[in-house]
Amino acid sequence: MMDGVVLQSTSKMFGSTWAVHDISLHIPDGSLTVLLGPSGCGKSTLLRLIAGLETPTAGTISINGRRVDQQPVGKRDLSMVFQSYALFPHLSVADNILFGLQVRKVAKAEQALRLSRVASMMGLENLLERKPSQLSGGQQQRVAVARAVISQRRICLMDEPLSNLDAKLRAEMRQDIRNLQQTLGLTMVYVTHDQIEAVTMADQIVLLNEGRIDQIGAPDAIYSRPATIFAAKFIGTPPMNLVTSATLNAHGETNFPEGSVVGIRPEDLVLDADGPITGHVVMVEYLGADRLVTCKIGVESLIVRTPARSDLPDEGRIRLAYLPDSVHLFDAKSGQRLTQ
């Protein structure tokens, strides 16, 4: 028996297309797992399969060793926060939070106790009598989280909970949710398309592409060893430089294998008068601490992250060097990682 959520060859077909295809996955108890991918990659469908809002076409889902894929949604003992928050517009904040406890006929005194505890945890004490329409987006979001927390269910699913908030609030809520998950020891499955959210919050990232798992791993593992070109492109801002070996070999004193794609992260490149790669600067983007220098190498380009206080060479032509062991090699056809 394995604790947490286990998916085995889970698939879901809509019409004639696989929304989720052959996913096998272990979400450990008490961890925060992020399902990450571009829109249409099947991450939300996967979450809904775990929730029970969809039934899998094939494969199994078990929670704490118990098969649940044929169980109705209410019996799975998990909570969920929706992207739209799904607050009941006609109920007060208090009733929204208490809805599940009322449905399950938890004793009134217990309800009041849990409500006051959760309300103070989420900073909602003064808003309990309001209707959802009288709240700001961030407050609505906290109500939605409070509704999940008050259930005291061990597993919490979150479907892009921060996508409707502005950037500043999102950064705050990111930390709040992560703290909450760790304090309460929740098993959290968190869907997002935002790789920054994924990298900052996750214990484990499940990177999805076209309904399949592209790579599973801790954020730093995926960042430092992307398994595919897709993973290399998806994680990191700015994304990893990916250029064909042919271009690099033609414009530098390098010898990368033919038919491969070379990946080097912008921070692993340095402007170096003795470097092996030649190019010329086409654009400089100032970020405060850093500067992103876009260099043209033949028909392709490389982005270099340099400290903003270092000087740029006067003339456009430059030479680049890369840090040892920082090169990722991928097969150009399959997109799979080749080296190391």
Binding site: L78, M80, Q83, S84, P89, G100, R104, K131, S133
Partner: protein
């Protein structure tokens, strides 16, 4: 500034002329007429004060039609709403032949009530009417549904409910489809039963529609009398007569126009009360957005 004011009045003019000519002016004329006697032969109409209203208080037929109308409204409004909601919930599910069922439910709305009343006349016919034929199969006795005072009003209500429920269903269907599915999903995650979901979420969220529909149904219960004309003529013994039908009889059969105007004022007052009630009472409780 002046120009825009004139412009605004000009824009309002067509609607205002129509409203005043065909709604406000007749209403005021009616009130004035109710304070006068009916002109007959050589006797011209004279001001009689509240005499017509005094007559109203001692008019047993008026009391009966008002009572009929209250029962009629009190039953047809909630029953047609309940049926409309049930039908809307049913055809909102993904069932096979949903389009056909929706159309079938809506058909009574499309058919003219006069024509429909004739069909119902056949249904109710004692002996060989549809209802009595079915009753006959179970060995039940013949019933003259619209010929006896204690059943006729209810028989009329059935026709009204049948006619109106499908129309109201359309409003409920539209309202149901505007409820976000994620609300139902959130409730499902909490393990709420179907009935709980309906009671705590669907029904409250349908309240604005229920208000709109109930006001319309209440107004219709005073307004829709085509089937009374065709099926019973208000009989037997005024048992199926409603206020508007009585007004018609008094004003255009007996040509007692002053008393007809008095009855009309009562009808206007009732409709006004309904509108005011909606505005001040329900509106606040229902709209939460």
């Amino acid at each position: 500034m002046r120009r825009t004011t004139i412009y605004a009045w000009l824009m309002l003019l067509p609607a205002m002329v129509l409203l005043m000519a065909f709604t406000h002016y007749p209403a005021i004329r009616t009130i004035i007429a109710s304070l006068h006697s009916t002109a007959r032969g050589h006797r011209a109409s004279v001001f009689v004060g509240l005499a017509n209203y005094e007559r109203l208080l001692s008019d047993d037929v008026f009391k009966q039609v008002l009572w009929n109308n209250l029962i009629y409204g009190a039953l047809t409004v909630p029953v047609s709403i309940a049926i409309a909601i049930s039908m809307a919930l049913l055809v909102n599910y993904k069932l096979r032949g949903r389009g056909f069922v929706r159309m079938a439910y809506f058909t009574p709305t499309v058919l003219p009530l006069i024509a429909v009343a004739n069909i119902w006349l056949f249904f109710y016919t004692p002996g060989f009417g549809l209802i009595d034929q079915i009753r006959g199969m179970f060995g039940l006795a013949q019933q003259n549904w619209i010929g006896q005072p204690d059943t006729v009003l209810y028989a009329m209500m059935v026709v009204t409910v049948w006619k109106e429920a499908g129309f109201f269903m359309i409003f409920y269907l539209a309202a149901l489809q505007s409820i976000s599915p994620s609300l139902y999903e959130a409730a499902a995650i909490e393990g709420a039963s179907r009935w709980t979901v309906f009671r705590r979420i669907t029904f409250p969220l349908l309240m604005p529609t229920t208000l709109f529909v109930s006001v319309n149904a209440a107004i219709n219960s005073f307004r829709l009398i085509d089937h009374i004309f065709v099926m019973t003529g208000g009989g037997p013994n005024n048992a199926s007569s409603l206020l508007l039908y009585y007004i018609y009889q008094v004003a255009f059969r007996e040509w007692d126009t002053a008393y007809g105007a008095t009855l009309t004022v009562v009808l206007l007052a009732i409709l006004l009360l309904l509108a005011v009630g909606q505005f001040f009472f329900f509106d606040r409780k229902v709209h939460y957005k």
